[in-house]
């Protein structure tokens, strides 16, 4: 099976999705598309409804209302051979050997036993676990088990990868290794939907993002779109002399002879430069930068505590 899809049609299409659990509405009127070949960041604080949306997309939950389609239809497990899903709550068959588990999932994805084992050995070598092929999974560390799960997810080069917190529990070295693997999948043409709290990963990998807040899409578009809408521009100034108070900007960072100024609405960079020069400030350098996704994330979700769940 292959995700054919009509030209121009999104690979994932969610329309007016609503999810009630008990008397509580978890998601309301959520609509977004993910196009074939793009890497999509699905962002939000804990409890905002990301995992619920992914589970509904994959038929694990039944939606209260709305349509959730992959390649033009509701997902069914028999279409799973071309899908790689790494859930947030995950674990392996603990009493079995690494190779047995990987070969099992490989076979379920349509590979022959031999091919599944060969693929697994190559992958284990890449993630430095070649000597663990015959080891029971419960004898591996948490991080090693996660590597195996990622391997199972990307087995048979899926066309759609859905990764819910793929790097949780990884140290920086292994996180970089895993992000490299995901980048390879992306380069090979896979469509990737990624839930993560690592904003630098999102900025590096994602083409578009959606920020979910309390079950509602707070922001949706390219990273630049979101930065323009929510972050705006920051001015970085190296200077001599005291900065004047002004209605044009807020001082975000103030150090000795250095400041970061957040532009207020209706202001542009030139207005600030003129204001500084008029006030007698000696400006040695003046650069502009967009707000980072992390800054935007903090701005959007900063008023929220961290409730459990996804």
């Amino acid at each position: 099976m292959s995700y054919g899809g009509a030209a121009g049609e999104p690979l994932v299409r969610i329309r007016d999705f609503r999810m009630d659990l008990g008397n509580q509405t978890i998601i309301r009127d959520l609509s977004f598309d993910v196009h074939a070949g793009e890497t999509f960041g699905f962002l939000g604080s804990n409890g905002s409804g990301k995992t619920t949306t992914l589970r509904a997309l994959l038929g694990i939950y039944q939606p209260t209302d709305g349509t959730l389609h992959i390649d033009g239809k509701t997902f069914e497990p028999r279409d799973g051979a071309r899908l790689g899903y790494l859930p947030e709550e995950r674990g392996p068959y603990k009493k079995e050997s690494v190779l047995d588990v990987m070969a099992y999932f490989g076979r379920l994805k349509g590979l022959s036993r031999r091919k599944a084992q060969d693929w697994s050995r190559v992958y284990l070598d890449r993630v430095s676990l070649a000597d663990k092929a015959s080891t029971r999974l419960d004898k591996l560390s948490g991080g090693q088990q996660q590597k195996i799960q990622l391997g199972v997810t990307i087995m048979n080069d899926p066309e759609l990868l859905i990764l819910d917190e793929p790097t949780q529990g990884f140290d920086p070295v292994n996180r970089r290794l895993l992000m490299g693997i995901i980048e390879d999948q992306k380069r090979a043409g896979a469509t990737v939907i990624m839930v993560t709290h690592q904003m630098e990963e999102v900025e590096r990998l994602c083409d578009r993002v959606l920020l979910l807040k309390d079950g509602v899409a707070e922001a949706y578009g390219t990273i630049e779109d979101v930065q323009d809408r929510y972050g705006g521009t920051t001015v970085r100034v190296h200077h001599s002399g005291a900065l004047p108070a002004s209605d044009l900007y807020d001082v975000a960072v103030a150090e000795h002879n250095y400041a970061e100024l957040a532009l207020r609405a209706g202001t542009d960079e030139a207005d600030i430069l003129r204001e500084l020069v008029r006030s007698g400030v000696a400006v040695r350098s003046f650069t502009t930068a967009r707000s980072s996704l992390e800054e935007i994330f903090l701005r959007v979700y900063g008023d929220q505590n961290e409730p459990a769940g996804g």
């Binding site: 008990g22 589970r55 994959l58 038929g59 694990i60 939950y61 039944q62 939606p63 209260t64 209302d65 997902f75 069914e76 497990p77 028999r78 799973g80 051979a81 899908l83 899903y85 790494l86 859930p87 709550e89 995950r90 674990g91 392996p92 068959y93 603990k94 009493k95 079995e96 047995d100 099992y104 999932f105 076979r107 379920l108 994805k109 349509g110 799960q149 199972v152 997810t153």
Partner: protein, 408 residues
Amino acid sequence: MAQHNLNTVIGFEFFRTVKKKRFWIATLAIPVLLAIVFALIIMSNESTSTTAENQKNAHLSFTYTDDSGLVTDTVATAFGGTKTTDSARAIADVKAGTVDAYFAFPADPAKQPVRIYGTDKGVFGNGTYDAVARQILITTAQQKIGSPQLTTLAQGNVTIESQTYKNGQVSGGIGVVIPPLLFLVIFYVIIILLGNQMLSSTLEEKENRVTEMILTTLDPTTLIIGKVISLFMAGLVQMLIFALPVVAGYLFFRSNLNLPDVDLSHLTLEPGPMVVGALLLLGGFTLFTGTLVAIGAVVPTAREAGTFFAPLMVVIWVPFYVVSLIVSDPRSLIVQIFTYFPFTAPVTAMLRNAFGSLYPFESAIVIAELFIFGFVTLRLAVHLFRYGSVEYSKKLSIRSTFRRGNHA
């Protein structure tokens, strides 16, 4: 693809079951136990036989009185006896240790006990007195009858072959009953030994958080059916291993083990009861498996599953409390209830089927009932697994899974 996945699941589940140490511990424990019991029986039989023979032929120095007049001096003397008329003196001699024992044969040995007064030779040694006194009476009786044939008959050592008829045709007797009862044995072995594994088969996916990866790769129906088939196969492996020592014992150690001399050629495989037995086994297995898997899908841990497991195991033994009624009065109300109540039906109906008291229309109803209930519970198990297994750490509300289903 579905067939490929089913085969994959069966292979994975079967081999990981039979690769587990606890599977082999449970499987080999029974044959090993049987082998030990058989060995003890053989040793004990040999020892008992030797002891009995020694006791029978033991020459004691004893005195005796005979109020019956049956015991002849010749026989008593041959065993070392000396007749006396003074029982008080005889007892005093025993106490003094000048003779081993004194036997007082009563006027009617058939109704009154033979009294023995002997010097203590230990628990086993004292048995000699009993054996000798008994053998004296037997030898005496044989001499009085004067015919080896009559003596054999008097001892009840006769062989009887009976032939009965049912609907004008020769019926097979016990030879017809035994084969269908094997289905009952298979049912018990599978449910008792593998019930716990059925219960925990889906729990493992939940407890290890494998569920979501499985549910997006594999249809839950395929997963559950694959698990059920693999467990059934594992059960058959266990039964083959259990049967090995029994078959070996029967073939090579029959006389040592005092096994009844069952002529297997007399076993009759009647198609009707055999087919009904097989269908009852499959239906019952489906029902119990579906129920156990459904329970596993609802509860969050194996520990909580145990609460439901015990009552279910009790239910399959309940029909044995009325087994005499099942055999002698199958139309009684309690037997009828047990025949049709789904969880007691397999055992009750298999017993009645073996003893020939399950009528064809009853068979049809019970088989249909078991398959329908089994199918429904399996569908329920699949539904609960699909929509309930991601409730990893809490007990599932069955109602909520159907509420979600309504929104589909």
